[in-house]
């Protein structure tokens, strides 16, 4: 019901939206909740477990009941709080957890079965038969319980992530927050003021009192005008600060585009990381409920929300309202309603000594013991000194007192302390370094108190920032003392709800205690209290008070559960903004990328790089056909492959040679200028780190290459070694991976191809600077294929041109490009290792390269590599494998001695790489086999349990092709 002349919504801007397909009208500034209440809609959802009809409970982000689905093109957002979602033209909202309709819900039968569905019922009921849990019981329970549903499609919308920095972060823009922000603004520091609401002002707008004799909203507008005009202040509305982290870092979720119809490029939400010098937490307090029989009917609301709906939205949630409270504060709601012309039938005050001076009947020392009304409240039963009576009412405002929002102060393991006077938990100072609680969240409950506290705490924070300032004078406002008589539960017959969102009653908490889940953490998990989207904001303190009563302990002794981030729900899409699909990781493209794609090569990921898998040709339909052709092409003619992804490190300085001798197992100081050497690098623990070739370009100038996979790792290793062990050596290095495009040209006709380009005569493992039409290039005679091979490097800008040129020349010689698949087969045939073999667990001894650890010098990892257990017959050693019969073998398979039972204890090793060799017309494998080198010529049984493969193989030397290296040396 709308109230004329009240509220801050824009009456000149009507907005039409739909709820469950029915069109409603509200005004700009309305939430879905306020607009539905204005239209007299009382039932907005069904409860989690019992499917009871539920209505709006609160007017804020803590709402546990009014959770709805927002439907947009391509989007279906579940569990949206109707109290948070602003309406906009065309907004489509649906109720959830009901079938076939909100009014007639089949699963409401659960409510009848409630005696059998108490906390933990499924742990006890569905024990047998055991198999039924996963296949039968759980799916049924999951379907019956739960809240919203997902679209089942990917979320294709835009989300944003951002960083912000400030000197003073103020969280919450109520009276305390606004004063703190003003204090910071005038001190000249960079201020961020964040508030979860679309309009700043907090309870000043909801309570509607006076400041300095004028409406509080006027004062709020003046303060906001000052803050908006200040260049050092950033106002962040619709921004909920959700977590406190180390170093003054806070997470926050901003609703950027959720209050307007979707439009191109406008993000839905932004996930902020805000780093603040100091922080004032002015999060306020939340009103808590009292548990009494059937307190969950639509129409039963929080008392403070009633005045929020009147003052902010000009809506009365009922026609004949009653109030049930244990404190003075709730009377503000009764007065606000009466002032707006709404009938207040009664105030039921639990305190025997409460004042009865109001313009409506007041029952002191009375309690609400029951409610009536099938789809909404129609009457309450009140027990007072004279007995019981019924009061007809369609809206009951409940207040059990206020809980300071201590959440953020507890995010770094702090625990709040119990304040008996306030009957509430209050934060402990210093629980989060640099964060200071002010106002209601620190237990200061009067408006005047909050205004003054905001200024006081801001002065404190500014002092830490080195700005000594005087507190600005707080304006004059209401300063009534907070009078509360704790009451958590009205005992009696019937179910009394604590956690509305998860359908947890006082009975469930008592049952938990009875079954010895008496710790508050155990009770929470047994009953699921506090585990719904509101994370127990509305019910935690009430539930632990009931638990304290059931276990005979005090509330302070019972304690709270752990407060964890996020304070309010954060969508995964916002946290992962930009990370969907290809956004997951940067993509690295070689200069030849376009040329490879032009040839229809499927590009595969190799780390962050994209490399061609193979180059399909003619009628080829499978990768194997292309791969086999490319292998034969390299072996018999010439192939071209982009190898730019290999790490390249430019190493210079008088101690460069000495440095390489330290990091490599073999000697590089003796390498002549213009020559290249293969090197092996160990970790400090003696296992192989990486391998690659290093060229000596000048007396004090080397160029190291690393594997693609370990390029970053090796760079880090070199940095560490230099800084930790030889900081005074004159050696400098920098990655030049990106600066050079490098192409392998391999095969018997590689020399002919090179000769058509440039006149250079290189010995095996030689290197030289050359020029291609004025472009400085480098040629290395190295090979990873076992054929005569060259690698040609040019500055990256010329990479694509050179690749296209090389491929064209290769094709005239009967060759062409080859991809990763062929490259892999070629190196397996040659017994060359990759990180499939040097996976971090293998030693130089294991891969048959123990001889490369020079006896003449020390190196990183040499001592550790000599430890007992890292060499000898017990080690798994690298060997080659060939299946005895024509059969496929697989990497990842395990090896067994023929005749042994195939079980873990008899495991003899495993296969690391396999490939089909068209040259040898069969599969080849590289494997690690116990005492493998001594078993060459023997048989092993290869078993792959995952792929159901069981093949007898011959153990071979790992070099299958050109053992003497005749082709390589040409």
């Amino acid at each position: 019901m709308r109230i004329d002349g009240k509220g801050l919504v824009d009456r000149s801007a009507p907005v039409r939206f739909t709820f469950d397909g029915v069109a409603y009208e509200g005004f700009r500034g309305d939430t879905v909740a306020s607009a539905l209440l204005a239209n007299g809609v009382r039932v907005v959802g069904r409860s989690f477990k019992y499917h009871r009809p539920r209505g709006v409970l609160t007017a804020g982000s803590e709402e546990p009941n009014a959770l709805v689905e927002v439907i947009e093109v391509g989007q279906q957002t579940p569990n949206v709080r109707a109290t948070v979602q602003e309406i906009f033209p065309g907004l489509e909202v649906k109720s959830q957890n009901r079938w076939p309709s909100l009014k007639y819900d089949v699963m409401a039968v659960n409510d009848m079965l409630s005696p059998f569905l108490s906390a933990g019922f499924y742990y006890k009921t569905f024990m047998w038969p055991r198999k039924f849990w996963e296949r039968v019981y759980e799916p049924i329970i999951r379907r019956a319980a739960g809240l919203g549903s997902l679209s089942g499609r990917h979320d294709e919308a835009d989300y944003e992530k951002a960083f912000a920095f400030c000197d003073l972060l103020v969280i919450g823009a109520g009276p305390a927050g606004l004063m703190a922000a003003v204090q910071g603004a005038r001190a000249g520091v960079d201020v961020i003021l964040a508030d979860e609401n679309p309009v700043m002002g907090g309870r000043l707008l909801a309570d509607g009192g006076e400041i300095d004799g004028r409406p509080a909203s006027v004062w709020v507008a003046e303060v906001l005008a000052e803050l908006e005009a200040a260049p050092n202040v950033r106002l962040m509305v619709r921004t909920s600060v959700t977590g406190a982290y180390d170093g003054g870092t806070f997470s926050a979720l901003e609703r950027v585009g959720l209050h307007v119809a979707a439009r191109a490029n406008l993000p839905r939400e932004c996930f902020w990381r805000i780093v603040a010098g100091q922080t004032v937490l002015a999060a306020g307090a939340l009103e808590r409920s009292i548990a009494f029989a059937d307190n969950d009917r639509p129409g039963v609301m929080m008392a403070s929300s009633l005045r929020a709906y009147v003052n902010r939205y000009g809506v009365s949630p009922g026609k004949r309202v009653t109030i049930f409270a244990n404190n003075d504060d709730a009377r503000l709601s009764a007065r606000a309603l009466m002032a707006a012309g709404v009938d207040v039938a009664a105030i039921v005050d639990t305190r025997a000594d409460a004042s009865t001076l109001e313009d409506c009947p007041v029952y002191a020392g009375a309690e609400v013991v029951g409610t009536k009304g099938r789809h909404g409240l129609s009457a309450i039963t009140v027990r007072h000194r004279g007995g019981e009576m019924q009061i007809e009412t369609d809206c009951l405002g409940v207040s059990g007192g206020w809980n300071p929002l201590v959440h953020l102060t507890c995010h770094m393991n702090g625990r709040p302390v119990w304040d008996a006077d306030l009957a509430a938990f209050v934060p402990v100072a210093g629980a989060v370094p640099g964060l200071h609680a002010a106002g209601a969240c620190a237990g200061v409950f009067s408006t005047q108190g909050c205004l003054a506290d905001g200024a006081r705490v801001a002065v404190l924070a500014l002092g830490v920032l080195g700005r000594a300032v005087r507190a600005v004078d707080a304006p004059v406002a209401e300063d009534a003392p907070y009078a509360v008589l704790p009451l958590w539960e009205v005992k009696g017959k019937g179910r009394a709800w604590l956690d509305f969102a998860n359908d947890v009653t006082t009975k469930d908490v008592r049952l938990a205690a009875q079954e010895n889940f008496a710790s508050v953490e155990h009770m929470k998990r047994y009953t699921t209290q506090g585990m719904a989207p509101d994370q127990g904001k509305n019910s935690n303190v009430g539930a632990l008070a009931v638990l304290a009563d059931a276990t005979g302990r005090s509330i302070a002794q019972t304690g709270t559960t752990t407060y964890r981030a996020p304070f309010s729900p954060v969508s995964i899409a916002a946290m992962g903004a930009g990370g969907r699909g290809a956004g997951f990781a940067p993509q690295r493209f070689m200069t030849s990328h376009g040329a490879s794609v032009d040839r229809r090569a499927p590009m595969v990921e190799a780390g962050l790089w994209y490399r061609p898998s193979y180059f399909p040709k003619g009628a080829e339909t499978t990768w194997r056909e292309a791969c086999d052709r490319e292998v034969v092409m390299v072996r018999e003619a010439v192939g071209v492959c982009d190898v730019s992804t290999l790490g390249k490190i430019d190493i210079q300085g008088a101690d460069a040679a000495r440095f390489l001798d330290l990091v490599y197992t073999n000697v590089f100081s003796t390498l002549p200028v213009g020559r290249v050497r293969y090197g092996l690098m160990l970790r400090a623990d003696g296992h192989v780190l990486d391998d690659g070739t290093t060229a000596r370009l000048g007396e004090n100038h080397y160029l190291m290459t690393t594997t693609t996979a370990a390029a970053g790792l090796v760079m880090r290793h070199l940095d560490f070694v230099q800084q930790a062990y030889c900081g005074d050596w004159d050696v400098r290095f920098v990655s030049v991976t990106e600066n050079w495009a490098q192409f392998a040209v391999a095969g018997p006709r590689a020399r002919a191809l090179l000769a058509s380009l440039v006149s250079v005569d290189l010995p095996f493992m030689g290197c030289s600077r050359v020029e291609f039409g004025g472009v400085g290039a480098r040629v290395f005679r190295i090979s990873f294929s076992g054929e005569e091979g060259y690698e040609i490097a040019v500055p990256s800008r010329y990479g694509e041109a050179l690749f296209r040129d090389l491929v064209a020349r290769a094709e005239t010689l009967g060759g062409g490009p080859y991809g990763m698949e062929a490259l892999n087969v070629l190196r397996i045939e040659k017994g060359f290792i990759t990180h499939a073999e040097i996976d971090g667990r293998t030693t130089a001894f294991d891969i048959g390269l123990a001889g490369m650890i020079s006896a003449r010098k020390d190196c990183i990892g040499k001592a550790a590599a000599g430890r007992s257990g890292l060499t000898g017959a017990a080690r798994l050693q690298m060997v080659g494998l060939r299946p005895v019969m024509q059969a496929a073998i697989t990497a990842g398979a395990h090896l067994f001695t023929p005749g042994d039972e195939v079980r873990r204890e008899n495991d003899q090793g495993y296969v690391t790489s396999v490939g089909y060799s068209p040259m040898m017309e069969g599969y080849l494998g590289l494997a690690f086999l116990r005492d493998g080198r001594a078993r060459i010529g023997e048989m092993v049984r290869l078993v792959d349990h995952l792929r159901d493969i069981d093949v007898l193989c011959e153990v071979c030397d790992p070099v299958f092709h050109d053992k003497e290296g005749v082709k390589l040396r040409g």
Binding site: F165, N265, Q723, R732, V736, T737, N739
Partner: protein
């Protein structure tokens, strides 16, 4: 053989919103300069000075940008006479340059760069990250130069462009 055709890392046209412009820039010649132990680099570098961490030394078109421990990148100049006192490595083709200048440059970069950009003013630079990419960030008058690995240029462009588009859409909201 004929002349090889040189390609820019991206080859894209500028995009923008209002006076905020994202463009690919030609970095020209880039040389990594790492002074050798005990070398009198100051004399050779004059009028430039070897920069302290986070600092850019410049004179005319020549800029020496700090890029790491004992390392700076020389832009806009030929490293003449430096070879004797410092390890020089050509980086002209290793990095892609983007420039982001105009109103809102800080706000757009704040979507991707985890640094307090309030503190980064012309004459300063930083080694940091752009999303998950290694970044050399140089503050220039009215904005920033964003240097990323050449192979990652497309990802970088895409991310900055996306951030710019979303920022632009916010401004209209």
């Amino acid at each position: 053989m004929g002349n090889l055709i040189a390609k820019r890392p991206l080859g894209v046209d500028p995009v923008g919103h209002g006076d905020l412009v994202l463009a690919e820039v030609d970095l020209g010649r880039v040389t990594s300069v790492a002074p050798f132990a005990g070398a009198d680099v100051a004399r050779v570098l004059k009028p430039l000075v070897f920069p302290a961490p986070g600092v850019v030394s410049s004179k005319g078109d020549a800029r020496l940008v700090w890029t790491g421990r004992g390392q700076a990148f020389l832009f806009g100049a030929v490293p003449e006479g430096l070879g004797a006192v410092a390890a020089l490595s050509d980086q002209s083709d290793g990095w892609a340059g983007l420039s982001l200048t105009g109103t809102g440059a800080v706000d757009v970069l704040a979507r991707l760069v985890p640094l307090d950009l309030r503190a980064l003013v012309p004459g300063q630079c930083a080694r940091t990250t752009l999303g998950h990419m290694p970044l050399i960030l140089i503050a220039v008058f009215g904005g920033f130069e964003v240097l990323v690995f050449r192979s990652m240029a497309r990802s970088a462009w895409h991310e900055v462009e996306q951030a710019l588009r979303m920022w632009g859409a916010r401004a209209q909201c």
